[in-house]
Subunit: 301 residues, 2 copies
């Protein structure tokens, strides 16, 4: 699992910093999460292969998470894309994009599917044999969801030496990978645990931006490997965090601690602070394993 931070600053694009967008590489998928103005240039700068993106997840319809989407959709058209594209986001996203395409008489020549979200409960929005994606309802000024990405448990790994020892035929391998025991021709039962190794533990990533401090999410994101949680402010500006429904670094760390996550990544920084290191210092007073997102940074889990 690999996370590319394309932008992680709050509010507006600036000369050296970009508003929110990131790409999660998970089980051969390239999921785009949020799409602020400038995202397509950041995709180019970070050498991410555009054409492999087929699913875009939009947390909410504030410009700093969404205003790069119309341009990206248009660019896919200009690049001759034929593969379908799925967009998951709040109700209204379809009307907005459709209107912009209509005004420019610039309909896509690929299929564009909108999956509009309006539930206040967590929903399964995407699933295949390798990965599932659920919404994480958040608390912001407008309807907002985070997203929880979970790898599924792989098949069990074959123990080639054991298979050899019992002279087991290839035709059985598929069942053995699925966990079946084997009965040999002499009637002896060989338990699956002797024929296979455990698969790698599936990884999970929770993306939570934008939101006020929201302990209600702790249960859903419990023990995820990585939590990206917004920290627009420091505790010294908690009055602004309350007013604008954002979180402080301390609050992000509290959520990480309560949920016992493996690692916390902070982002969505207000540009009022001199150094983003201040966010890490504040968070680490509560939760030790903190990393700072920054534009262009890549995390491998």
């Amino acid at each position: 699992m690999k996370l590319h931070i394309l932008g992680c600053y709050a509010a507006t694009p600036r000369t050296l910093t970009n508003p929110t967008s990131q790409v999660l590489e998970i089980k051969n998928h390239l999921f785009l999460i949020d799409c602020a103005e400038g995202t397509q240039v950041q995709l180019r700068k970070n050498k991410i292969k555009f054409s492999r993106i087929t699913h875009i997840f939009i947390s909410h319809l504030h410009g700093d998470h969404f205003f790069g989407l119309p341009g990206l959709i248009s660019t896919f058209r200009l690049l001759g894309r034929e593969k379908e594209m799925h967009i998951y986001g709040p109700k209204g996203i379809k009307e907005a994009i459709t209107l912009l395409l209509k005004l420019g008489d610039s309909w896509t020549n690929y299929h564009l599917y909108f999956h509009e979200l309006s539930s206040k409960e967590s929903e399964l929005v995407f699933e295949d044999d390798k990965v599932s994606v659920h919404t994480i309802p958040l608390n912001h000024r407008v309807y907002t969801n985070g997203f929880l990405f979970r790898e599924k448990l792989d098949e069990r790994k074959l123990n080639v030496d054991a298979l050899d020892k019992y002279n087991i035929d290839k035709s059985q391998f598929r069942n053995i990978k699925k966990g079946q025991n084997i009965i040999l021709e002499n009637g002896e039962l060989v338990p699956n645990s002797e024929l296979t190794f455990d698969p790698k533990k599936p990884k999970s990533y929770a993306y939570c931006s934008d939101t006020a401090y929201m302990p209600e999410i702790v249960q859903q994101i419990a023990e995820v490997d990585v939590l990206y949680h917004e920290s627009t402010f420091l505790e010294s500006e908690s009055h602004l965090a309350n007013k604008t429904k954002h979180a402080t670094a301390k609050e992000a760390a509290a959520v990480a601690g309560e949920a016992k996550v493996g690692q916390l990544i902070l982002g969505h920084y207000s540009t009022r602070y001199k150094s983003i290191d201040l966010f890490k210092e504040e968070a680490q007073q509560i939760f030790p394993n903190v990393e700072l997102a920054d534009d262009g940074k890549v995390f491998e889990f």
Copy 2:
């Protein structure tokens, strides 16, 4: 008169080039012309004072001329703008912007006025005592206007020595600047030409992008000081120019020549070419005074 090129490449924002946006400084106005994705970052990089922009002119509703506008409007709100803003653009622009603001519950706290355009004839869209702006109807795939910016003739300049010689009272200066003759106490008539100098010749700038070759505009832009004319293609790709309703460098030069403009600036280049110098070479075969727009370039007239 000063022209800041923020972006002048066709189609999509790329790592090193930006789609169309420019700022015209004219008689203390800062007019923003088109507003592609990335414009607000380009404004910052080019150190243009955001708050002085009060009039935005949008040629047409293709993304590479327009998708930076929602973000710019939002950023003005975040920066605490109070001064009103006027936006001139094709019918539909108000619905699009209003929908995006509504979805983000991000209404501006300054007055936003939309001046929607739908006429196929040239119209006066802005006028004060110093400047006028007319639309230039163009021929593109969607409804498109260029814009013709004209300084008004200044008042006549006072000849201080002559005023002294005839001992003319200050109370008369305002009338003299407007061209009035003076009758002295002894009944002698002093013609205005003896009391004043000619004001500077007013300047004019015509912005024509995007458009197919359109000789119909020659009359309207005749003898302007500066013509910015799109040249998306070279003549070798004239079939693409015809198909997409764009112009070639040769066609832009033909318009400049027929209109006897002072200077031609080319822009809106397709990124398929190795060097934009090719556009200049092709245009200069027909019209000598050609300059190439490029991102970050400033022209002073």
